[in-house]
């Protein structure tokens, strides 16, 4: 079986706009693959295509050998593909812990009746979820804000909560859309450590970042998108020293 997320020559159009054009990519378990590129280069669209939210006009997406195009997005999540959103979609009144608990949906086995009667099996499952939730919060340094409503948190921490929520489903593949934007240095360290741990556990991570920093540190392989096309790809060192990259990307972003 062909393991990994394999994206082959994917093109996505929105009306007349070609947001992605002929993009290919490969994410293996334990890999952390970076996708960088300026705003509007198609990074989020690539994510949406892989996670089933937009349908490619052409090309192929396979996850562990299975055709993923046209599969309902929630089914992909149940099969082990979790994602975060560039702009976290959160209920501002929801406390951090409650929000992360929502991420355990794919693990829940309790029946409707079990939930309505709070049967012992259901109570055990809820207790397990709460314990796993605390473990994730500890890993990401969110314990102190467990009871804080998301609407009162700085954006950086809201992103961390989104990452935690995605981790809760124990995915085999994790797509992170600019998770480090707005994070303090300490929070970035925690996030980086958590991503490394996940990869070491066998998770394949696709990391979208606007800036090179975190990507350069975490990823071996990087794909650079520009206006929907793959501008460059290769290992971090090669990409970093490529004159085209320096000119078109770092040049315009003075990093």
């Amino acid at each position: 079986m062909n393991r990994g997320i394999v994206v082959s020559s994917v093109t996505v159009r929105f009306g007349g706009v070609t947001a992605l054009s002929d993009v290919s990519l490969n994410v293996q378990p334990r890999d952390i693959v970076g996708v960088i590129g300026p705003n509007g280069s198609g990074k989020s669209t690539l994510f949406n295509a892989v996670s089933g939210l937009v349908r490619p006009a052409s090309g192929e997406i396979r996850i562990d050998g299975q055709d993923a195009v046209g599969v309902p997005p929630e089914t992909l999540v149940r099969q082990g593909l979790a994602r975060t959103f560039q702009t976290p979609r959160v209920d501002p009144v929801l406390p951090v812990e409650a929000a992360i608990l929502c991420g355990f949906q794919t693990k829940a086995r309790q029946s409707l009746l079990g939930a309505m009667l709070h049967l012992p099996g259901q109570r055990r499952e809820e207790a397990q979820m709460r314990a796993s939730c605390r473990a994730i919060m500890e890993r990401l340094g969110l314990i102190e804000v467990a009871d804080v409503p998301l609407g009162e948190l700085p954006m950086g921490q809201v992103r961390l909560v989104d990452v935690a929520r995605a981790m809760a489903s124990e995915p085999r593949y994790l797509l992170l859309d600019e998770p480090a934007a707005g994070l303090s240095l300490l929070e970035q360290r925690r996030l980086a450590a958590a991503i490394r741990l996940l990869a070491a556990d066998g998770v394949g991570v696709l990391l979208v970042e606007h800036n090179f920093g975190l990507v350069g540190e975490l990823c071996r392989h990087v794909t650079v998108l520009d206006r929907g096309k793959v501008l460059l790809e290769g290992d971090v060192a090669t990409v970093r020293s490529n004159p085209v990259f320096l000119q078109t990307y770092l040049g315009s972003h003075a990093a």
């Binding site: 939210l53 999540v77 976290p88 979609r89 929801l94 406390p95 949906q105 409707l112 009667l117 489903s169």
Partner: protein, 322 residues
């Protein structure tokens, strides 16, 4: 959360009220009606307040529950306690395919679809000939048991509310409840959690229909006669109003709304002013307490110490929702 104790709160208050009312028939009648309206408003609470589906068909589901038991007990002499599951399951089973059909619709279109469904149900009941008794309705529905009195029936009605609130509060305090609330707030977010939104919405719609059916079952055996307009569209709208005024997203909100609006209704002079009054109550609630009278109980504030430590200078409230 305080919502865990919802069923106990209703139980205690209902028992205290029952003791206070003694055998005053007028009071007992009002109290029983409030219990029945509470069930109907609770069905709005779960479908609209929790899952965000605005349905004007809750009365129609109650009607089905009432007619199911009315026909089976009055025409075929079946015991009311045997018809109870029928009254709950029939509307639920009708709601399931209906929900599958309508849940991909936009909220407003969905509300209109439920309105049409309610109208169709009423027309069918009117045209049902001997089976439903046509526009005159069905009479001679037996009491639940021979020794039924206003006192015992009031207790049974409130017991039903307690049971429903117990099941409902437990459900919302579970993985199911979290998924249901996520669907209401942001279906795309729910999808990213791995939730099949259509299926979950259908399920909630079905549960709400079952609750409404229970209200219909009770009402049929309290009144002993039923007619097609008993649970007409005005009743459905009334139930929505009660839920919203009390707090549709809070477990006990619909019960509180049923109590408050029923009391006002008791003391209101004429039928004509009813619409005006309900309109005023709705507007007042939306202005003063947008989440309803009990809205304040949701996600209580944290202690000041935690609060101070948590909110840093860079906090951007309001900017987090997308």
């Amino acid at each position: 959360m305080i919502e865990k104790w919802s069923a106990l709160i209703v139980l205690v208050l209902a028992v205290l009220a029952a003791i206070g009312m003694g055998s005053n028939a007028a009071w007992l009648g009002t109290s029983t009606l409030i219990a029945i309206y509470s069930l109907l408003a609770l069905s709005v609470g779960i479908t609209y307040g929790q899952a965000g589906i605005l349905s004007v068909a809750q009365g129609a589901f109650a009607s089905m529950g009432a007619y199911a038991t009315g026909i089976l007990t009055a025409r075929y002499g079946i015991s009311p306690f045997l018809t109870l599951p029928v009254s709950v399951l029939l509307p639920a089973l009708v709601a399931l395919p209906l929900a599958r059909l309508v849940s991909p619709l936009s909220p407003l279109v969905l509300a209109i679809a439920t309105l049409m469904f309610a109208t169709i149900v009423e027309i069918l009941l009117r045209g049902g000939g001997d089976l439903t008794g046509g526009y005159i309705g069905l009479s001679g529905i037996p009491p639940l048991f021979d020794a039924q009195t206003p006192v015992t029936f009031n207790l049974i009605a409130w017991f039903a509310v307690v049971v429903v609130v117990f099941l409902y509060a437990n459900l919302m305090n579970s993985a199911w409840g979290r998924a249901i609330n996520t669907v209401r707030h942001d279906p795309m977010r729910a999808v990213a959690d791995g939730t099949n939104v259509t299926r979950l919405q259908s399920l909630v719609f079905t549960l709400g229909a079952g609750m409404a059916g229970l209200a219909g079952w009770l009402y049929a055996h309290q009144l002993s006669f039923i007619s097609p307009d008993l649970f007409g569209i005005p009743v459905s709208i009334n139930a929505i109003l009660m839920a919203v005024v009390g707090g549709a997203g809070v477990i006990l909100g619909p019960v509180a709304g049923a109590v408050v609006l029923s009391f006002f209704y008791e003391f209101l002079p004429g039928q004509e002013s009813r619409g005006m009054f309900y309109g005023a109550a709705l507007i007042l609630t939306l202005v003063v307490a947008p989440s309803g009278l009990l809205g304040f109980t949701r996600f209580r504030r944290r202690s000041p110490a935690v609060r101070r430590g948590a909110v840093s200078a860079g906090a951007v409230p309001g900017k987090v929702a997308s």
